[in-house]
Symmetry: C2
Subunit: 279 residues, 2 copies
């Protein structure tokens, strides 16, 4: 399997950078005339895959909306992930997992070597990026990616993410630097590849002037396109200078709320808008 970052660059080159969130919330299930249960979330996800095949390269199921139906919901997630991968899409499981190293190893198994296996998983770094290295190792073995929550758009996250560590760096900067270091080492020692297997999640409405995003050396996932207020132009500004194919702006509610009949056209339109602003 090719490394994750290079698979993203290739897929974005083919279909464009848009990542579509698969978020079967109670409100969206109702809007799609689907029942709020394991069958409903599965049908929602499979319908997204059908409608978006050939239009988007990457989908991002939000794990919480499956987990809220317990193990049966997680079985629905397995089916949706399998359907998306069978359709040639890359799948980012938006799970925000994270724990100390012995537990992180188990999460690595879950998201890269179990029936839930996806192409990448999002993680949260409160215990330190270093503690998550077993997940990075599992990702690399599988040609997968680990996307580290770095700078979120929500106001409640600012105090923590902009706190200043002993060495003078903000938390978000230190997290991004740790991501960058992991990629630098991977690119220096591995076979020739364009991007490393570790990425960062950067809210698309953030204006992270102080963050050296173009140097990260991995995929940058940017949730918040549309519903959370970010425009394609804003995305272009925040990620200016990043390598071609490395930025994945993600839209969920903004696209899904218009119902299934409008999904494909909405995705096509966003792809066009994004193509105009991202290399």
């Amino acid at each position: 399997m090719q490394p994750f970052g290079d698979r993203v660059v290739e897929a974005v080159g083919r279909l464009g950078p848009l990542c579509v969130g698969i978020d079967p919330s109670p409100a969206l299930l109702a809007r799609w005339d689907l029942p709020d249960g394991p069958d409903g979330v599965r049908a929602f996800g499979e319908r997204c895959v059908e409608l978006l095949t050939g239009a988007v390269a990457v989908v991002k199921p939000q794990v919480a909306f499956f987990e809220r139906h317990g193990a049966a919901g997680m079985a629905a997630l397995e089916a949706v992930i399998a359907a998306a991968r069978a359709a040639g899409m890359l799948v980012i499981a938006d799970a925000k997992r994270g724990d100390v190293a012995s537990t992180a190893e188990a999460y690595g198994d879950a998201w890269f070597a179990s029936p839930l296996a996806a192409d990448a998983v999002t993680v949260t770094p409160y215990v330190g990026v270093g503690a998550l290295e077993p997940m990075v190792a599992a990702a690399r073995r599988a040609g997968g990616g680990v996307l580290v929550l770095t700078a979120s758009s929500n106001p409640e996250g600012r105090a923590i993410q902009q706190a200043v560590a002993e060495d003078g760096r903000t938390v978000e900067r230190a997290v991004l630097d740790a991501v960058t270091d992991l990629n630098r080492k991977e690119l220096a020692t591995g076979p020739a590849q364009r991007l490393g297997s570790v990425g960062a999640v950067i809210g698309a409405t953030r204006s992270p002037e102080a963050l050296p995003l173009p140097a990260a050396g991995g995929v940058l996932l940017a949730p918040g396109l549309g519903a959370q207020g970010a425009t394609a132009a804003q995305v272009g500004a925040v990620f200016a200078g990043c390598p071609a194919g490395s930025v994945l702006p993600s839209a969920s509610r903004a696209l899904l709320a218009a119902g299934p009949a409008a999904l494909r056209a909405g995705a096509d339109r966003l792809q066009k808008d994004l193509a105009a602003v991202l290399g």
Copy 2:
């Protein structure tokens, strides 16, 4: 349902403060002669419940070790949670979940109103404690608890957790203060109760001199007893002055690695050691 904090105080008064982690890692499954699959993790958990009934009040399944077997592993977790609750134990799902508010609401459904429902769930606050309030609301509705990862024992977590926010507080202090505020409001407005529904996770090997733990107003979960190096005496020192019944020191590998035949006696011994140091 009585509020979570008061249920903990009552249960600890009956059986003692020890919380036993249910961690069916590959190594421990082998040690217990169980297969590394969904059936194995279920048998491991159910065996822990049988052996510990009447000896410990609280168990803490580590969700990652179930999730590593996909949806079938999560079904095993549902069975283990149900068995523990049927045996009268309180169950803390050690899930370290956390995301922005709309997603946090879905995690609240998952851990308090789905077949996975537990008595409490651990959460991680990188997006801010405020973003997690929908999980707190779901917990309160169910008489459950939300335990916020505040100060972890692992060295990789220090830089983030001791970073200093704009108002001069460390991240871990700000997180603890947010927990304290949520409990203060709950205790001021709700019916008479001893502890609020929001707790903090404080590594048992930490020496958080700067953290006003006795004022938190909620349950304090302290993982790391035994294998991660914390002794009962250390726990007594770190949590000196905390309300009776509010501290749950947790042991996992240290107890489980000796095999099932030694589990009950090991738990009895730890209960006795802890009784001597915690009010």
